[in-house]
C-alpha cells in the first residue's frame, strides 16, 4: 500500500442537520487535499462494532467550500467593493472543504449502520478492488476481469475491471455508452474495450468476436492500422495488460455503390483492399427480411399472404401453372421479375378474371412493384442476379472484428443489413455453429435505431430482443448514442454496464440522471476526452476512469492517410477487384476482356469471379463472357402509315 494512500486526508463529520446514513457520509479535508468528485476514499472507524473495526469505502459525489463569512456583503464591505483589494488581505479566511460521499461498501456488511466517525484516507489499489467488489472476480482461480480503465486519485492509479460474466453474459450483459458527439469518446471507448476484451476474455468462457456497424463516416474503418499513442497511453496499456497495437484480425464488408463499380465505403484506398469484402445479397437472403423494407401501410394482409405464397411455393422451387408460359425456378430478383411478367401476361391473356389462385391481380401487381423495388432501393447490396457475398456465418474466428460499413447507405438498406446480420448471428448462436461462442454487436446512433418513441420498427424489435434475451446466447449488444434519454428504456435498461462520456447539460437534466448528484453531473458535463463514468452491476456507485486512446487509427486520420479511391472507370474497378485474387491481372488484359460488353455484363462477371474465388482467375473471368449470348439484332419493322396525310389537313382527317 502506497504511503500516499495511507495518509489521513480527512475526518468524517456529522451534524444534526447533515447526519451520516448507511449510504452517505460527509467528511472534511485540508484545502490542498487531492480529493475531488469521483475520488474513492476509505473510512476507518475508531470504535469497534461487534468486535470488529468498521471500514467503509465511499466515492465522493459532492463537495462544498465555504469560509467563516456569514454573508457575501461582509467581504464586499471589507474590500470597499473592489475585487482587486482581496489580494491585499494579510490572512486568508478560514476555509472548509467539505465532501459528501456515497457508500460503495461497508465491512463487515452486517449490521448495516450509519457511517461512523473516523479517519478518511485515499483508497489504495487493494481498497479500490474491495470497494468495487472486484475482488470476487479478480481471484486467480476464477478470474473474469476485463480492464475498463484506470481510476486515478492523487498520485495513485488503480486499474478498474468489469466482470466478463456481467459484460458478456450469462449473468448480465450488454453495454451502453452515451456522450456528446464530436469528441470521439464513444467510438474510442468501444475500440479500447474490444481490445481489452480480446486480451482478457477468459479462456474457460470460450471465444469471442465482434461485429461493428460503421454508421458514420470513416469511424471504424481503420481498426487494423496503428493509431497515435503517447507515452501515457502506452503506460496505461501496459498497466492494464493490453497490447498497444491495432486489431490484428479485422475483416471489412461493404455493399457496392449503386453503379456497382466500387464498394460503397470510405475504405476504398487500394492499399487497404486486402481485407475488404463486398457485401451482396440475392433474393433468398432478402426475402426472409422483406418485412424490414416493406411498409406495413403498403403491405396489407392480402399482400402479406401473397408474399408468403411466393416464399413457400415459388422461390427456390420449380413452379408451373396453366397461366404461365413456362416452368419458373425463381432464384434471383431477375427470375422473380420474369415470373411476375409471365404471370400477369398469362392472367391478362387468358381473361381468367381478376383473381389468380385467390390472389387479386391488383395485389399481385402491388407485390411485384414493392419487391422489384427492393433491388432498386438497395442497389449495390441486393443483386438482380443473386450473387451472394456474405459475412462468414459459421466460420467466425476468435478475437476477430468484422466491420460492416453502412455509413453511406440509405436508411432502408442499413435496416436490412442490420436485421439480417443480427438474425443470422442469432440463428447460428442458437445452433452453436457460428464459429465463436460470443459475439459483440456494436451499434452506434441508437437514438435512430431504437428510439424511445416513434413507430415500432423491425430493427427496434430486434434490438430489444438482443437486449432482453441475447445474454443467454452470447449475443451481446454494445450500443452508443448521444442522448440516452431518447433510447428505448428496455434497451438501455437491459445494459448491465453503462459508460458515460462528456454529457450535454440538457440531457443531464432529464429524469434518467436524477440519481446523480449535481457535482457528478457537472463533472460529466465537463469530462475530458478519454475519461468515462462507469456503471457496472458490481459497483454500488458510478466510478470515473481514464482509458487510453485506441491503438487503432482514428477514422479521420485514416481517411487522410488512405484517401478514398474516388470515382474510377469500370476497367480499373475490375482490375482492383480481380487483383485481390490474382496479382498478375493487368489493366490491358481487363480492357481487352471486357471490350464489347456492357457494364452490367462486366459487373456480373466480376461478381461471379469474386464469389467463386477460382484458382485460375483470368480464364474464369473470361468464361463468364462466353456464356453470354449476344442479343440478336432484331430487324426493325418498317412502319407504314395507314394512309398518307393530306398536306393541308393539320388534323389528319
Amino acid at each position: 500500500m502506497s504511503p500516499a494512500a495511507e495518509r489521513v486526508l480527512g475526518r468524517v463529520v456529522a451534524t444534526e442537520k447533515r447526519p451520516n446514513t448507511p449510504h452517505e457520509f460527509h467528511f472534511w479535508t485540508a484545502i490542498d487535499s487531492p480529493i475531488g468528485i469521483g475520488t474513492i476514499v476509505r473510512v476507518d472507524a475508531e470504535i469497534p462494532v461487534a468486535g470488529q473495526m468498521v471500514r467503509v469505502y465511499g466515492v465522493v459525489v459532492e463537495g462544498f467550500s465555504y469560509t467563516d463569512l456569514q454573508s457575501p456583503i461582509h467581504d464586499v464591505l471589507g474590500h470597499d467593493g473592489s475585487p482587486a483589494g482581496a489580494s491585499l488581505a494579510a490572512t486568508q479566511r478560514a476555509e472548509i472543504r467539505l465532501y459528501t460521499a456515497h457508500v460503495l461498501r461497508q465491512l463487515p456488511e452486517e449490521p448495516l449502520q450509519p457511517v461512523p466517525m473516523g479517519k478518511v484516507a485515499l483508497a489504495s489499489d487493494e481498497d479500490v478492488a474491495v470497494a468495487l467488489r472486484m475482488d470476487t472476480y479478480l481471484a486467480a482461480e476464477a478470474r473474469t476481469a476485463i480492464p475498463v480503465g484506470i481510476y486515478r486519485a492523487g498520485a495513485m492509479e488503480a486499474p478498474i475491471y468489469l466482470d466478463a460474466d456481467f459484460l458478456l453474459g450469462p449473468e448480465a450483459a450488454h453495454l451502453n455508452i452515451t456522450g456528446v458527439s464530436g469528441l470521439a469518446t464513444k467510438t474510442s471507448a468501444v475500440e479500447w474495450l474490444l481490445a481489452s476484451i480480446f486480451a482478457h476474455f477468459p479462456e474457460q468462457k470460450g471465444s469471442v468476436a465482434a461485429i461493428c456497424f460503421n454508421v458514420k463516416g470513416p469511424d471504424l474503418l481503420f481498426l487494423d492500422q496503428p493509431g497515435k499513442l503517447d507515452e501515457s497511453d502506452r503506460e496505461m496499456y501496459e498497466k492494464l495488460g493490453v497490447r498497444s497495437e491495432p486489431f490484428d484480425k479485422v475483416e471489412y464488408f461493404a455493399p457496392y455503390t449503386p453503379k456497382g463499380f466500387t464498394l460503397n465505403t470510405l475504405r476504398s484506398n487500394e492499399a487497404l483492399a486486402g481485407n475488404m469484402r463486398p457485401l451482396t445479397w440475392g433474393l433468398n437472403e432478402v426475402m426472409q427480411f422483406a418485412e424490414v423494407l416493406l411498409n406495413k401501410d403498403d403491405v396489407d394482409a392480402k399482400a402479406d399472404a401473397f408474399i408468403d405464397f411466393l416464399q413457400e411455393r415459388v422461390i427456390n422451387r420449380e413452379f408451373t401453372d396453366p397461366v404461365l408460359s413456362t416452368t419458373h425456378r425463381v432464384r434471383s430478383f431477375g427470375d422473380l421479375e420474369a415470373f411476375f411478367r409471365d404471370l400477369l401476361r398469362g392472367v391478362e391473356d387468358r381473361g381468367s378474371g381478376e383473381y389468380w389462385r385467390t390472389h387479386h391481380v391488383a395485389t399481385i401487381r402491388k407485390v411485384r412493384n414493392r419487391l422489384s423495388n427492393i433491388s432498386t432501393r438497395c442497389a449495390g447490396l441486393v443483386t438482380d442476379e443473386g450473387v451472394v457475398s456474405d459475412l462468414p456465418f459459421g466460420s467466425f474466428a476468435d478475437r476477430t472484428v468484422y466491420v460492416v460499413d453502412v455509413a453511406s447507405l440509405e436508411e432502408d438498406t442499413q435496416d436490412l443489413i442490420f436485421a439480417r446480420v443480427v438474425s443470422k448471428l442469432r440463428e447460428h448462436l442458437e445452433r452453436r455453429d457460428l464459429g465463436v461462442s460470443h459475439v459483440v454487436v456494436f451499434v452506434d446512433e441508437l437514438n435512430k435505431y431504437a428510439p424511445g418513441d416513434g413507430p415500432e420498427t423491425y430493427v427496434r424489435k430486434m434490438l430489444l430482443d438482443i437486449a432482453e434475451r441475447g445474454r443467454y446466447l452470447g449475443l451481446v449488444l454494445f450500443s452508443a448514442q448521444q442522448f440516452r434519454s431518447q433510447v428505448h428504456r428496455r434497451v438501455v435498461g437491459n445494459s448491465g454496464t453503462s459508460l458515460y462520456g462528456r454529457m450535454d447539460m440538457d440531457e443531464l437534466a432529464t429524469p434518467g440522471y436524477a440519481v446523480l448528484s449535481a457535482a457528478t453531473k457537472t463533472k460529466l458535463a465537463t469530462l475530458e476526452k478519454g475519461h468515462l463514468m462507469v456503471r457496472h452491476p458490481h459497483f454500488a456507485q458510478p466510478i470515473f476512469v481514464r482509458f487510453p486512446r485506441p491503438a487503432a487509427m482514428r477514422g479521420r486520420d485514416g481517411a487522410e492517410r488512405f484517401p478514398p479511391a474516388g470515382d474510377i472507370a469500370l476497367d480499373v474497378a475490375v482490375l482492383r477487384s480481380l487483383r485481390q485474387l490474382d496479382g498478375s491481372v493487368s489493366l490491358d488484359w481487363v480492357k481487352r476482356t471486357i471490350t464489347g460488353h456492357d457494364e452490367g455484363q462486366v459487373i456480373r462477371a466480376r461478381n461471379a469471379t469474386l464469389q467463386a474465388r477460382p484458382e485460375r482467375v483470368q480464364p474464369f473471368f473470361e468464361a463468364q463472357f462466353r456464356r453470354i449470348v449476344p442479343p440478336e439484332a432484331t430487324p426493325r419493322a418498317t412502319t407504314v402509315p395507314i394512309r398518307s396525310l393530306p398536306g393541308d389537313d393539320p388534323y389528319g382527317f
Binding site: 461582509h74 488581505a89 494579510a90 486568508q92
Partner: protein
C-alpha cells in the same frame, strides 16, 4: 450546553444525590453585573511630543505579524449549594501562527476546566463532594475580593477567578512565544500582565476595550478625533502591579458615521526597544495591515483583527 458541563453535573449528582442541578444556565459572562470596571479617564506620561497630538501613518501598510494570541473563557452556574453558586468555568488560549497567509495552531492550545466556589461558605457535604470529584476546584475566596455573600457578588468572584485563570493561560503562551516563537506576536489585550512579555520586542498588545482612556481634556479630544491611519503620541502605561509599557491610540477604520471609539485601538509595546516613534509608526502599519479581512460577523469587527477572531473560533471549536 456542552457535554463536559453535563458530564460534570452527572458526576456530582452521583456524589450529591439530593441536590438540584440547573438545566440550562446562561453563560455568566452575558448575565453578570458589576464585572466590568467603571469608565474612567487617566492622564498618562507622554513619551513623544509635549502635548498629545495626531500622527499620520505614512507609507504602505504591510503584514508583519507572525502569530496571534487570544484566550476565551466560559462559565456557567452548575448548581446552587443552598444560596451559594457553584460555577463551572472553562478557559482556553491559543497562538495561531500565520504561514503563507493561512493560520495554524502553534504548539498545543491550553484548555482548562474547573469548578469555582467559595469553599468557606459551603457545607461539609458539598466540600467533600467537590474534593472527591475528579475536576479541579478553585476557591474563589482566596482572592479575598470583597466579603459580600450576595449571590451576584459570589458569581462575580467566580468570574474574576476564571478571568485570572484565562489571563494566566494567555500569559503562559505569550511567554513561550517570546522565548521560542519566530517573529512578532499580536496579542489581544494588554501585554503588561507579564514582565517577560511586556519587555519583549516580539510582543505587541492591541487593546480594543476602552473602559479606561489614557487621555483627558484636549488630549482626549485629539484621541477621539483621530482619523483612519492616524495614531496618537506615545505615552507610558504604568500600574503598581504591572510592567510599564509604551502605548498609543490608533484608528484602524474610518469613524465617520460611527461613535468616536469606532475602529479605535490602543497599542502596547515594550518601552525599551529602539527609536520609539519609529517603532510606533512601524507597528501601526503592521496593525493597519490586519484590517483585512474583516472579522465579521463578530460585532467587534471594527476593532478586532481577523487573526484574533480566528483564535476565538478555534477555541470555540475545541472547547
Amino acid at each position: 450546553m456542552d457535554a463536559g458541563f453535563h458530564n460534570l453535573q452527572r458526576q456530582l449528582a452521583a456524589l450529591l444525590p439530593g441536590e438540584t442541578w440547573l438545566e440550562s444556565s446562561p453563560p455568566l459572562e452575558l448575565t453578570s453585573m458589576g464585572v466590568d470596571e467603571a469608565p474612567r479617564l487617566i492622564s498618562a506620561t507622554l513619551l513623544e511630543d509635549r502635548t498629545l497630538r495626531a500622527h499620520t501613518i505614512a507609507g504602505d501598510v504591510e503584514p508583519h505579524f507572525a502569530a496571534f494570541l487570544d484566550g476565551t473563557q466560559r462559565s456557567r452556574v452548575i448548581a446552587h449549594a443552598g444560596e451559594v453558586p457553584i460555577v463551572h468555568g472553562v478557559i482556553a488560549a491559543v497562538v495561531r501562527q500565520r504561514v503563507e497567509r493561512r493560520l495554524g495552531t502553534w504548539r498545543a492550545p491550553i484548555v482548562r476546566g474547573a469548578l469555582y466556589a467559595p469553599l468557606g461558605l459551603l457545607g461539609d457535604v458539598w466540600r467533600d463532594a467537590l474534593r472527591r470529584s475528579r475536576i479541579d476546584v478553585v476557591d474563589t475566596l482566596d482572592a479575598k475580593q470583597g466579603d459580600s455573600q450576595h449571590p451576584f457578588a459570589l458569581q462575580d468572584a467566580a468570574i474574576h477567578a476564571i478571568q485570572r485563570a484565562r489571563e494566566a493561560a494567555e500569559r503562559e503562551l505569550a511567554e513561550a512565544w517570546c522565548a521560542a516563537g519566530d517573529g512578532d506576536l499580536f496579542l489581544d489585550g494588554s501585554v503588561t500582565g507579564s514582565d517577560a512579555v511586556a519587555t519583549s520586542s516580539r510582543a505587541v498588545g492591541v487593546v480594543k476595550t476602552h473602559r479606561t482612556l489614557y487621555a483627558e481634556g484636549d488630549a482626549l479630544r485629539t484621541v477621539l478625533r483621530l482619523h483612519r491611519a492616524e495614531r496618537s503620541s506615545i505615552f507610558r502605561i504604568t500600574s503598581p502591579r504591572r510592567t510599564p509599557v509604551a502605548s498609543w491610540y490608533l484608528r484602524v477604520r474610518d469613524p465617520r458615521g460611527h461613535d468616536p471609539l469606532w475602529g479605535l485601538v490602543r497599542v502596547e509595546v515594550a518601552e525599551a526597544h529602539g527609536n520609539l516613534p519609529q517603532r510606533a509608526d512601524d507597528v501601526s502599519r503592521w496593525v493597519l495591515a490586519e484590517a483585512l479581512p474583516l472579522a465579521v460577523p463578530d460585532g467587534r469587527w471594527d476593532k478586532m483583527m481577523y487573526g484574533i477572531r480566528d483564535c476565538e473560533e478555534f477555541l470555540r471549536a475545541i472547547q
